[in-house]
Structures are given as structure tokens and as C-alpha cells.
């Protein structure tokens, strides 16, 4: 009896020792590993043609390429450079585009070399509503053909405002392997195959996606051997894991105090970069009293952007004065009505509209802090001019469904889109995008003020005229005051000082830093 007890103690102590030794041994690492943490609880869809959500696109950009790409670290359309296509030409009327593909580009695994056939297949897949969420982007595409194994010709019915954007390394422009999609069918989303610097290795539900270096990447083998992309929804857990050395790069908190605190830690860099997510307050003109332009303007004059930016933080937030986000091609504030903060004027307008004592209205808002906090500030600011907002806070997916049924008089909505005025104007301010209609996207205000300008600008080949049309569209919508631009909120990521992206991070359309063959640990 006694002996067996001793035995147990012995076994237990050996076990403990082994655990301690192995625990430390596990810390040393031979391969160059980049450990990333993102804010969602799980992957959405690992198919570039199906997802537009931050956690997915930030990862997919490391696995896929487009025909052209934004210069790494930039989101300026003027920096577009060759990616899978070496060079391209367009016909004078802008309707025929011919791309010469780079030779010797290899897909991940044993899916062979990229040819024109893959490009044609991929773009057609992105046009097909059964396999893509971005079909509306391709409305003007007539044909996509492979002229020879390294030449692709795309013919349009009408010119498109910024056609190269459609075939860039963003959303539908990502090129997938034809063989892989045909072989795997629905399972492609659990095993995506592209040409990018990193290839998918493994997915563990609710835990992580791992990628390994694509040694045959056409720009050269990556210096990082493996990436572990972890899903850690709690901000404090991501921060703690970073501070304990278990994470190298992570999605931060878009809050000034947080940024300043993180910058105080050693070995830590906080990157604040574009795109800013634009936040507009959309006023539903079918709900009284917002059918009256004086009321809408009163709301606009009651909003104090300086106070808002001060609260959100000077590094992450900047005021917005146009309904098109700052920096987008076609965005302008010149000659556009500017509703400065002026509570007296707001009160006067309300009085004129027949609401001398103000009024009260019901507004729905998501429980996601990035939208809820600013809405609460707006609620306070409007209270000062007599507008009482009854805020109904709800879970995020519920809110998305409710605001599309015209159930909220005001909708504070945030988005980042392709940085050309057209897409934003189309989705938020064209009458065909009005919520509740068959082609609905996100026109919450029911404005129809600038349909003609938006449509004409789309097909205008003369860029000067096109910019004029976009300007006029912004003027009309702002005069009508269908939506009030409030502020923009930038992206915030934290990383180890020793980790170098290999590019200067100023902006990323895919909403996360570009990690590629140049990224390394110093």
C-alpha cells in the first residue's frame, strides 16, 4: 500500500518535471513564425469572391493576387502597378482591355502554372451571382476571353469609372485556380488556392487559420515560413497575448487612450492607417419629420464634429464634410454646402419647420462600440437643440436587418469601399439602392437627388467631366441633406517593433497590413 503511494508520487513528480522542461523547450522556435490575432470569433468565408469582412479580406490578401495591385501599403488608385499581368492596354473608348500575363506564375500546391484560362474562369466566377457577392461590380462587362495562354481580353458594354480597380487585388479581382475550384467545388472555401506569397495550410474552427510560405511565389520566396492567424474576439485578450509574447501582430482598439497606452510599452509599434471608415448619419426621408429639409438641416447644424473627434481621438478620427470619404477619387468639399456646428441656427430651423420645442424620435443602433459610442454622442448633441433620441441598442445582426426595413429614422452607418466616388455614391445614394427594393444595397435615406449624375459619371470617359459630375452629385445630395457626414475612423493594428512589413503602411484596402515576401523580423 505504502509502496504504491510512493510510486504515484514518483510518477507525478516525473510528470511535473517533464512538463516544466517541455514547457520551456516549446518556447524556442526554429522556423520564422508570424503570429497574428484578429478580432472576430471565427473565419467568415475563405473565398475572396464571397467575403468583404475585415477578418477575411485581411487574411486572403496574403494568399491571392489580382491582375494589377495597389502598391503594398498604399490604397491610392494612382499607385496601381502590375501584379499577375505584366502590362496592359485599353482601347481609346475605354471599352476593350487587354492584359499580358506574367509567365511562370505558380499556384499553391500542385495546381500548376497560371494561364489566361484561370483568369477568365476566375473573373467569370466573380460575375456569377451563384458564386460571388460582387456581381453588381461587373454590370458593364460583356465578355472575358483568353486570346492565348498569356493574354486576356475584356470587353465592356460601357466604360467603367475605374476599371483597373475591378481586376486589382481587392474583392472580386482576386484570381483563383480553375483546377482547384473545379476539383473541390463547395469545399474550396475550406481550402482556398491562389498564387500569393502564403498558402493555406490548416483551419481549426474558432481557433486559427495557418498559412505557410509559398516557396515558388513569383516575386521570390517569403522570409516568413509560417503565419498563424488566430481568432481572438476579446480586445483585452489580444493585448495580453501580445504583451506576454504569444502574438506578434494584432488588430487593435480604435481608441485614442488605448493607442497611447500601447505606445508606452516597449517593443511595440501601433500602426494607424487608412482607409478611414466613413460614418454618415443617414436621415430617412420617408419618416416624419425628416421629410422636411429644414429639420434635416437643423440636425446637421446640431452636430459638433470637433467634439466628436476630440472624444474619439485625434489619431484615429477625422471630421468628414462630404458624403464621399476623404481621399476617394472624385471626393470634394469645394462648392458643397457645409453645415457648420451652430445650435442657434439649428433651433431656428426647427422653429421654422414647426417644431419650436424640438421633437423626439426612435433610433436603432448596434451594440458594437465603434458605432454605438458615436451615436450616443450624437444623441447628446441633438438633445441640446431639443431633439430627443430614444436609442434602441440591439445586437449587430438584428440591427442590420431592422435598419433595412425602414424601422429607424436615423441610421449611423460606417463603411469603406473602393476609393473611387462611384461605388460609394451608387450604394448609398442612388435610388436603385434604396433599402427594401429588389436591388437594395444601403440607401437608407431614400434620396434620388443625384441619380442622373451618378449614372452619367459612370460612363463618362473624359475624366474632367467625370469629376464635375461627381462634384455635382455631392452638391445635390448635400443640399438635400439626405445624410450628414460626421467623421472617419481609421484602422489600428499593433505589432512587435522587430517585425517589418517590408512596406510603408499608409493604407490598405483589404483593411489589414500587407504581409508578403519582403516582410521579416529584424
Amino acid at each position: 500500500m505504502r509502496r504504491s503511494c510512493m510510486g504515484k508520487v514518483l510518477i507525478l513528480s516525473v510528470f511535473l518535471m517533464a512538463w516544466l522542461v517541455l514547457g520551456w523547450a516549446g518556447e524556442s522556435r526554429a522556423e520564422v513564425l508570424l503570429r497574428v490575432a484578429i478580432s472576430s470569433a471565427d473565419v467568415g468565408q475563405l473565398d475572396p469572391h464571397l467575403t468583404s469582412k475585415t477578418p477575411d479580406v485581411a487574411l486572403l490578401q496574403w494568399m491571392f493576387n489580382g491582375l494589377v495591385r495597389f502598391k503594398p501599403g498604399s490604397m491610392d488608385p494612382r499607385t496601381i502597378e502590375p501584379d499577375l499581368a505584366e502590362k496592359w492596354t485599353s482601347s481609346p473608348d475605354g471599352k476593350v482591355w487587354t492584359f499580358q500575363l506574367r509567365k511562370g506564375v505558380k499556384f499553391h500546391g500542385d495546381y500548376g502554372e497560371l494561364t489566361a484560362e484561370d483568369v477568365v474562369f476566375s473573373l467569370q466566377r466573380a460575375m456569377n451571382p451563384k458564386t460571388s457577392a460582387f456581381t453588381s461590380d461587373f454590370a458593364e462587362v460583356k465578355t472575358i476571353e483568353a486570346v492565348n495562354p498569356y493574354t486576356v481580353k475584356i470587353t465592356l458594354t460601357d466604360p467603367v469609372p475605374f476599371f483597373l480597380g475591378l481586376v486589382s487585388n481587392y474583392h472580386a479581382g482576386m484570381i483563383v485556380s480553375k483546377k482547384a475550384v473545379e476539383k473541390m467545388g463547395d469545399k474550396f472555401i475550406t481550402n482556398p488556392i491562389g498564387t500569393g506569397p502564403f498558402m493555406f495550410e490548416e483551419y481549426k474552427a474558432k481557433q486559427y487559420v495557418s498559412c505557410v510560405a509559398h516557396k515558388q511565389y513569383f516575386r521570390g520566396a517569403p522570409k516568413i515560413d509560417k503565419i498563424i492567424y488566430r481568432y481572438i474576439p476579446s480586445t483585452s485578450s489580444r493585448e495580453l497575448a501580445f504583451r506576454s509574447g504569444e502574438i506578434d501582430l494584432f488588430y487593435g482598439d480604435r481608441d485614442q487612450r488605448w493607442i497611447e497606452r500601447m505606445r508606452g510599452y516597449k517593443d511595440t509599434i501601433v500602426d494607424v492607417f487608412g482607409p478611414g471608415e466613413h460614418r454618415d448619419l443617414h436621415l430617412n426621408m420617408t419618416i416624419k419629420p425628416f421629410d422636411d429639409v429644414r429639420v434635416r438641416r437643423a440636425v446637421a447644424h446640431a452636430i459638433n464634429r470637433d467634439e466628436m473627434v476630440q472624444f474619439l481621438g485625434k489619431d484615429v478620427a477625422e471630421p468628414a464634410w462630404s458624403i464621399v470619404p476623404n481621399g476617394y477619387l472624385g471626393q470634394t468639399t469645394e462648392g458643397i454646402p457645409k453645415y457648420e456646428y451652430n445650435p442657434e441656427k439649428a433651433k431656428a430651423l426647427l422653429k421654422e419647420a414647426g417644431y419650436p420645442g424640438g421633437f423626439s424620435t426612435k433610433v436603432m443602433i448596434t451594440n458594437i462600440e465603434a458605432l454605438m459610442k458615436p451615436m450616443q454622442i450624437i444623441q447628446e448633441q441633438l438633445r441640446k437643440v431639443g431633439i430627443q433620441i430614444e436609442l434602441e441598442v440591439m445586437e449587430h445582426a438584428t440591427w442590420h436587418a431592422q435598419i433595412r426595413k425602414n424601422l429607424s429614422a436615423m441610421v449611423l452607418y460606417g463603411a469603406a469601399r473602393f476609393p473611387v466616388a462611384d461605388e460609394y455614391l451608387n450604394q448609398f445614394y442612388h435610388s436603385r439602392s434604396i433599402v427594401g427594393t429588389p436591388k437594395a444595397v444601403t440607401n437608407f435615406s431614400h434620396t434620388k437627388a443625384a441619380d442622373k449624375e451618378i449614372d452619367d459619371a459612370r460612363t463618362e470617359t473624359n475624366q474632367k467631366k467625370q469629376l464635375e459630375l461627381w462634384k455635382s452629385a455631392q452638391q445635390k445630395i448635400m443640399t438635400e441633406c439626405a445624410a450628414i457626414p460626421v467623421f472617419e475612423l481609421k484602422q489600428v493594428w499593433g505589432r512587435r517593433a522587430g517585425f517589418d512589413y517590408g512596406n510603408v503602411l499608409e493604407g490598405s484596402l483589404n483593411l489589414g497590413p500587407v504581409v508578403d515576401e519582403k516582410s521579416r523580423f529584424k
Binding site: A18, L22, D42, A133, K206, R230, I232, S234, S237, A401
Partner: protein, 313 residues
């Protein structure tokens, strides 16, 4: 006894069916569209409708319901709407983590809670009793995510003994244990509090009994009185509390799972809810209900083992 077990299982079928129906309906009554969650906010209406069709969400409610229930009785929980993987496989993937965490939490609860409960009952109204009672009250009212962060700050960040991300590789038993300790302590804290309070009150009742005085008068050693006479009589309410809270722990572990970035059933449920993953949610509820049924059964059977007076008929 076998008859008893079979009966209990048969009786649980109507309960299960009721739970399934309620979950099925509630999931669909909450506004929010799985297709919209999957495709994001710039997806066209056309793409949304296509996806709804592919997921079978455009079928009538009755059709969906019949499919779901027949599937369950065939042992097929269906595929997740969002990831397309089999719900059963996802559940089986995380189940070991949940079982580890729950059992470890219970174990910590019993190992620390029972002796503490006995001591506080014995030395009632003493200094020790007050301290233990205050601590257990704290344990009960302390939010799990807060205690989890405190544990991480001290033992992971300051001392560096444990990882912050506690999602171990299950095939490595050493790592599995290493990653379990902090989350288990966090969950165990609540359990210790519950068990201490249950043990204390149950022991106090028994200690007042006449046979206790008799035993003492006969000169039986204190230890024997405590463990053979008092504890055995006081054990039933303790088992009840432990059994009840196994179910609670499986669900409540979600906060612990989130802070420690640990896979588990609780986290799976929250994820499925946020993404409106109906099939996943339904499947999880089936599994969850089964766990409750089984733990209740085990609890009932344990009564018999610990108290010969209990008969199953």
C-alpha cells in the same frame, strides 16, 4: 436499475423535442439574416437570394423543421450554414476542451470546497468561517471575465508560468494540462464557492442531529464522526449542487473560453448566435440538452452509490 436508466432516457425525449422546437423557432424569430451575415453589407440582393437558396433558407418553415427533426433522430445534425462543415464534427472538435475544463473546474470545486465547507461548519461563526464566507460570496459575485484577466495578469504576464492563449494541441497531454490550469482555476473559483456554501449548510444541519451527540458521547474519534457519520449524511445536497452546476458550468464557461481564447461549446454557441448559424445553433442545443440529461442521470445514480437508502424503481 437498467430499467430506471432506460425510463429516464425515454422520458427525456419529449423534453428534447420541446427544446428543439423552441430553439428552432426562436432562432428564426430573431431578426437577422444568415446570408447577409455571411456576405457582408455590400452584397447585392441577387447574391443574397442565391445564397439563401443554396442554404435552403427559402424553404417553408415546416419543411425546414421536418428536415431538422428527422435529421436529429437519424443522428445527423446537418452542416453549418456559415462554414459548411459538419456540425457534429465541429462539436466533437471542441467537446474535449469543454469536458476538460468542466471536469477540472468541478474537481477543483470539490477538492477545495468540501473541506472548506466542513471546516466552516465545524467552526461556525469563527474568524475562519467569516473569511471563508466572505471569500465564497466574492467568488460567486465576481465576474468570470474579470477574474480571468486578473489570473492572466499575475500568472501569465508577471510570472510567465502559463500562456495567455490556452488553446492547446489535444494530442500533447503535457501541453493540454499546462493550458488547462489557469482556465480551470478561473472556473473552479466559482465552483469552490458553490460547493463550500452547500457543504457548510448541509453539514450544519447534520451536526445538529441527535446521533451526532450520541456518537460523540460514545467516544468515537472526531475524524470518524466527521467523515463516516456526518459527511455521508450530508452528501446528498452537495451532490445535487455539483450535478446542477455541471450543466451551468458547461454554458458559463463561455466567458472563461473567450478570455483565454480557448475553444469550447460555450464559445461555439455564442459564435453561432452572432452569425445566425441556425443549423449550428440547433445542433449545439441538441448536444447541450443531452449533456444536461446525462449529467442529471449520473447525479441521480450517484445518490444511490452514496446512500444505500436510495432505491431506484
Amino acid at each position: 436499475m437498467i430499467k430506471f436508466v432506460c425510463n429516464r432516457f425515454l422520458l427525456s425525449i419529449p423534453t428534447l423535442l420541446a427544446v428543439l422546437t423552441i430553439v428552432f423557432l426562436i432562432a428564426r424569430v430573431i431578426p437577422g439574416d444568415p446570408a447577409a451575415v455571411i456576405l457582408g453589407d455590400s452584397a447585392s440582393q441577387e447574391a443574397l437570394e442565391n445564397l439563401r437558396h443554396r442554404l435552403g433558407l427559402d424553404q417553408s418553415l415546416t419543411q425546414q423543421y421536418i428536415q431538422f427533426v428527422t435529421g436529429v433522430f437519424r443522428g445527423n445534425l446537418g452542416d453549418s450554414l456559415v462554414s459548411g462543415t459538419s456540425v457534429m464534427r465541429e462539436v466533437l472538435n471542441v467537446l474535449p476542451y469543454t469536458i476538460d475544463l468542466t471536469l477540472a473546474g468541478i474537481l477543483i470545486g470539490i477538492v477545495f470546497g468540501v473541506p472548506l465547507g466542513i471546516l466552516t461548519a465545524l467552526y461556525r461563526n469563527s474568524f475562519l468561517d467569516f473569511i471563508a464566507r466572505i471569500l465564497s460570496l466574492l467568488g460567486l459575485s465576481f465576474p468570470a471575465f474579470y477574474s480571468a484577466i486578473l489570473l492572466i495578469l499575475v500568472f501569465a504576464l508577471q510570472l510567465g508560468w502559463f500562456p495567455v492563449i490556452s488553446s492547446a494541441d489535444l494530442s500533447d497531454p503535457v501541453q493540454r494540462l499546462h493550458h488547462l490550469i489557469l482556465p480551470a482555476c478561473n472556473l473552479g473559483l466559482i465552483m469552490v464557492a458553490y460547493v463550500t456554501r452547500a457543504t457548510r449548510s448541509s453539514m450544519l444541519d447534520v451536526l445538529r442531529e441527535d446521533y451526532m451527540r450520541t456518537a460523540k458521547a460514545k467516544g468515537i474519534p472526531v475524524m470518524v464522526i466527521l467523515f463516516r457519520h456526518a459527511l455521508r449524511n450530508a452528501i446528498i445536497p452537495i451532490i445535487t449542487v455539483v450535478g446542477l452546476y455541471i450543466g451551468v458550468l458547461v454554458g458559463n464557461s463561455v466567458l472563461t473560453e473567450i478570455v483565454f481564447s480557448r475553444p469550447g461549446l460555450g464559445k461555439l454557441i455564442i459564435g453561432a448566435l452572432n452569425q445566425r448559424d441556425y443549423t449550428m445553433l440547433q445542433g449545439l442545443m441538441v448536444v447541450y440538452s443531452l449533456i444536461i440529461v446525462i449529467t442529471n442521470l449520473i447525479t441521480d445514480l450517484t445518490y444511490g452509490f452514496s446512500d444505500p437508502r436510495v432505491k431506484y424503481s
